[in-house]
Amino acid sequence: MVKQRLRVDPIKCKAHGMCSELIPERIRLDDWGYPIIDPRAIGPDLLAHARRAVAECPRAALRIVGVDEPGARDRPDDPD
């Protein structure tokens, strides 16, 4: 079973803030209302909440991905 985590598309996100209401265990808001995602894996107890947060995002900016999916920040020496 691949471990999963939440990831947000920073361009789509418009700080509606519903995600942090629905899964505060993994998402908190910064001083300007934008989500800071905890990269830790989502356990089976949180999966339903994570899915609901993904479904409720008005901009479809939130996704559940495998923890190994390359993101924008995962490799410090990214190609420029």
């Binding site: 598309d9 920073p10 361009i11 996100c13 418009k14 700080a15 910064d30 001083d31 300007w32 209302g33 934008y34 800071i36 999916e69 390359p70 993101g71 924008a72 920040r73 020496d77 990214d78 190609p79 420029d80």
Partner: protein, 423 residues
């Protein structure tokens, strides 16, 4: 003691623009190599990107080659040089355009690209003209090889970012895009795209001629080859130098005519780079590990020396305001966070902030890190974090009194006028 000047591979003296005839008499024709062998050669050379991220060039070429396999690809020479303190790319492209174009054509052949593009900034009109002339020279020859186009982008800091370049070449606004997919997977018009800094392509052109071993004969095993740096700041003869990874900061300064005043700190990399205390870095080389030891990377090759007679806080303030204004405005933490950070830092600089503002800045810096689609906010906040550390004493002074003896000095780190558009 003057260290031995490394082999001038990219920028030989005198630095006069080299036309096609001069280029051919120096280096001869560009070799036509088997793609696989060439890519292997690039990989073995250990050449890394010279645009700021230092990604292994051979790995990039192979990735594009594999994804293009049989189909089409695009190669782009990134000559945007949107880093205001850097001059190396413009200098190289003006003096040795044909070496860069050789590298571009080499890359196009290797990955199977039908389109080769040089991407320049609208602000560099002279450069564009000389480039077009050089391309014209090559086209007039019978076996001119790949068709090279010039595409112009806006004079904006993030317009030189890899995904912004591919967006602009695709006909859209020069704004960065969220990754994945990266350009080597899906770039211009959805094709695998190789975006490479012009200096990197020049090195690649030499590796194609002289081989990986030759490339590695200079520098350290971990950081082989030569590299261009822009030495600026409180130096008698600021300019572009060709150095290798055994060169120390002190030697760079010496080759630039020495300091015009006692150095306080050095900005390494660019406006997205790091401040380092002068005495911590002076005897260090620009080797990757040596710089990492003081929390810096070579980045875009900018070495800017701040003298004790200038105000690091004021310089940082100006650069932060510039960086905040350069956001593409796509991601909240950057669009809203960077201006908030710049404004707060400015208040600290002019003395209208409380000491708690410094803690706020540190917290915001960690909050913003890694939360944009591109690395623009990262560069800005890591630059800020280095300033908070290196100029800690000055900052505490500024919080209390708002000015220092050196406020009001002419700007060391200049910022260009920004244009309004994104085309």
């Amino acid at each position: 003691m003057t260290a031995a000047v490394p082999t001038a591979r990219l920028l030989p003296f005198p630095r006069v623009p080299e036309d096609l005839t001069a280029h051919l008499s120096r280096h001869g024709e560009r070799p036509r190599l088997d793609a696989g062998l060439l890519v292997k050669s690039i990989e073995e050379s250990g050449l890394r990107g010279r645009g700021g991220a230092a990604f292994p060039t051979g790995t990039k070429w192979r990735a594009v080659m594999q994804r293009a396999a049989g189909g089409d690809a695009v190669v782009i020479a990134n000559a945007a040089e949107s880093e205001p303190a850097s001059f190396k790319d413009r200098t190289l492209l003006t003096v040795r355009p044909h070496l860069v174009l050789d590298g571009l054509e080499q890359a196009a052949e290797a990955v199977g690209a039908r389109r080769a593009i040089v991407y320049v900034s609208r602000a560099h009109g002279e450069l564009r003209r000389s480039l077009v002339a050089a391309i014209g020279e090559r086209r007039r020859r019978a076996d001119s090889g790949v068709f090279v186009e010039v595409v112009t982008g806006p004079n904006r800091y993030v317009a030189g970012e890899e995904t912004a370049v591919t967006a602009r070449v695709s006909g859209r606004l020069a704004k960065p895009r969220a990754v994945p997919p990266r350009p080597f997977q899906r770039g211009v018009d959805g094709l695998p795209t190789l975006v490479q800094n012009v200096e990197t392509l020049a090195h690649a052109a030499l590796v194609a001629r002289f081989g990986a071993g030759w490339y590695r004969s200079v520098g350290t095993p971990k950081t082989p080859g030569t590299t261009l740096v822009t030495a600026t700041g409180a130096l008698r003869m600021a300019g572009v130098l060709e150095v290798d990874s055994t060169t120390t900061i002190a030697e760079i300064v010496e080759r630039s005519g020495g300091v015009s005043a006692e150095p306080a700190a050095v900005l390494v990399g660019g406006y997205f780079g790091r401040w380092v205390a002068a005495d911590a870095i002076w005897q260090r080389t620009i080797d990757v590990d040596a710089l990492r030891g003081v929390g810096a990377t070579l980045g875009a090759g900018v070495i800017a020396v701040l003298p004790v007679t200038a105000c690091g806080v004021a310089e940082t303030d100006r650069v932060l305001t510039y960086l905040a204004g350069q956001t593409a405005g796509q991601c909240g933490p950057c669009r809203v966070g960077l201006p908030a950070i710049a404004e707060t830092f400015h208040k600290v600089a002019i003395g209208s902030a409380r000491p708690a503002a410094l803690d706020l800045l540190a917290r915001w810096a960690t909050d913003v890190l890694g939360r944009g689609a591109c690395r623009h906010p990262d560069g800005a906040v890591l630059f800020l974090a280095s300033a908070l550390q290196v100029f800690a004493t000055d900052l505490r002074h500024h919080v209390r009194s708002g000015v220092c003896r050196f406020s009001g000095q002419p700007a060391l780190l200049g910022v260009p006028e920004t244009e309004a558009g994104w085309w």
